[in-house]
Symmetry: C2
Subunit: 419 residues, 2 copies
Amino acid sequence: MKVLLIGVGGVGEAIAKMSEKRDWLDQMVLADYTLNRAREVQKKLGDEKRFSIEQIDAKNKDGMIALVKKYDIDLIMNGCDPSLNHTIFDAAYGAGCNYMDMAMTLSEPHPEDPYNKTFVKLGDYQFERTKLWEKKGILAIVGSGVEPGMADVFARYASDYLFDEIEEIGIRDGNNMTVEGYSIPFGFSIWTTIEECLNPPVIWERGKGWFTTEPFSESEIFHLPEGIGPVEVVNVEHEEVLLIPRYIDKGLKRVTFKFGLGDDFITMLKNLKELGLHRTEKIKVGDTYISPRDVVATSAPNPAQLGPKMVGKTCAGTWVKGKKDGKARQVYLYQVADNQECMKNFGSQAIVAQTAFPPVIMMELIARGIWKGKGVYGPEAFDSVPFMDKMEDYKFPYGMIEMDSEYKEMLKEEELVKV
Amino acid sequence: MKVLLIGVGGVGEAIAKMSEKRDWLDQMVLADYTLNRAREVQKKLGDEKRFSIEQIDAKNKDGMIALVKKYDIDLIMNGCDPSLNHTIFDAAYGAGCNYMDMAMTLSEPHPEDPYNKTFVKLGDYQFERTKLWEKKGILAIVGSGVEPGMADVFARYASDYLFDEIEEIGIRDGNNMTVEGYSIPFGFSIWTTIEECLNPPVIWERGKGWFTTEPFSESEIFHLPEGIGPVEVVNVEHEEVLLIPRYIDKGLKRVTFKFGLGDDFITMLKNLKELGLHRTEKIKVGDTYISPRDVVATSAPNPAQLGPKMVGKTCAGTWVKGKKDGKARQVYLYQVADNQECMKNFGSQAIVAQTAFPPVIMMELIARGIWKGKGVYGPEAFDSVPFMDKMEDYKFPYGMIEMDSEYKEMLKEEELVKV
């Protein structure tokens, strides 16, 4: 398979690195706004023929279409901030090639009632075009990272193999990572973190559909496995809530996404908002016009480069509540990544590496013809087993906890550690 | 007297407003980088002849000298951020006219030991030039606002009339102001607040001279009068510490400046620093180069415009500890400004209005020949009584508390209110 990777940031670099030795990959074109950045990654990889570089503006649709033609590309892998999704998605359509991204097109809050009603939802732009993609015979997998991505595959697996009835699915994410010298480090794309945390979080309920709440709502304590322990998680706007109800049923009544941000980080985000620094629209500063969020994203310590200073583990996963064989059941399917291991294996910090491996597995499944289709889909539209079977090989094995037995054991052990 | 006001921001507007009906003022030229801003203030004042407007870049020394000549100016009043002090101060010298500012030229931290040693101190640039100013027969009063400014006048008054021996002088400042809908409002110039709060605070001690500490050091509870109550104050870099030891002796052993910032505000400032947003040097964002602090200062809610939403009082003052007639004595000389009164009287919020009235009184004293001299001085170099006598007339009366009697009474009353 020939891949055009648009955007060679932290996650882009990890995607290239994880694909490097795989036989399903014929070529990956590393295309970035800054050619030097693409060159830097190319040098780390070594194989200049398989990993060629190109300068590209992700707002330039025709430029991307030309690159697809130049290299006879099979799939565009979008490694950019989601604000650029429209053009990259449309370029893939225009060029008639497959497409994957790790975050869907952005939402727009309801103009009158932003904390109750949805307006433009995450991915609306993309799902509205599914018929066009079908007609053209090409495939888009949207939300193909770890969350959304792996978490959606887990939801599908639970639905297919673990439950007869599903009441609720909640993505739960947190970490115990610390960065020496930093009290409020961004662990992932600064631009995207501000976007998803300050937007009204979205929830899905049967009968009610999608609706929104105040940011940071419905705080709860969730205990994460492998020694991470209890984390306070809050509602955050995330793609899984938009994807899961499209493909999973079994009586499903509620879907949420909650993330363990921590009080200090929430305070920092609220302060950014109060200072107007979260804004994406340009403001006039002296004689220049500039987007305050772009300034924050450029000025703050780059999360992709904090890796060597980070210590700890991060956990992404899917909690499912329902019934099996007439009995109540709750499970948490998860993947825990240790930062130092990720640094050693991939030269990337844990959250970046964990985001990068699922699209690489998915590209392999597409290359081998195991995942296939026409149209625009979330990852839970495909068979979960081939994906989960490959996780260990890619050094990101999954785990599963039965909440009514193992989870209770875990809580007891946490108590013992405390004493 | 003919005044050239460079910079018609919040404080500049209040200076113009407070000078409007005064007979000592013949003309005030409102000069700003943005001519429309000067025009806006001119319209509020009504008298277009006495308050003419000019466009000026405060980095353009020759342009300012030309304005002094054009209008036959007696005094340049500097209403800009202190980063622009050098040029405006030099323009006054070049034009041979008097000069006043409300904050002194900036410090530079010690390159190796910033939290112990001073390097370039506040006002060094200006005081190094005092002989030149003397020779030319012109006067600069630096630090002429409320703090520095009024607080220094209070120190001089205490030294002349209240104490035989002085052990310590500490400027203490705080408020109980709240702004509806804001948890961390800047009460004063955003640029300057970041500068003074994140720079290493400076302390003066006899024998040791000036030295620095970690930001936010030596937290203490200080009780402020007129119902404001207890405030947690911390060391902040401020001009009074540089000025007072130059002019006041009586055995003085220590000078500090402590400001009641509040935990939430300190957290916000620390976060700005961690995100690199406090920086003044330009960084590359996309294709533009921009100073992150300029973006924060432009993006955050303008403190000069928050007035209508503010409720509460602000207190600026000078605490002096020493001996009188052989007995230990402590006093706090202060000025309390109520926001709603300031809004009613001057259309400016309390902190802005309180900063503006002292330079207006000082201009009157210079115009009437009561304060005079040649060279570069702080406000405590002049007789305190004529200044303090005018405070009531300008609607900012001072108060004084004897700490060993009235202060203790105040604490008892606070306790009663609590119960």
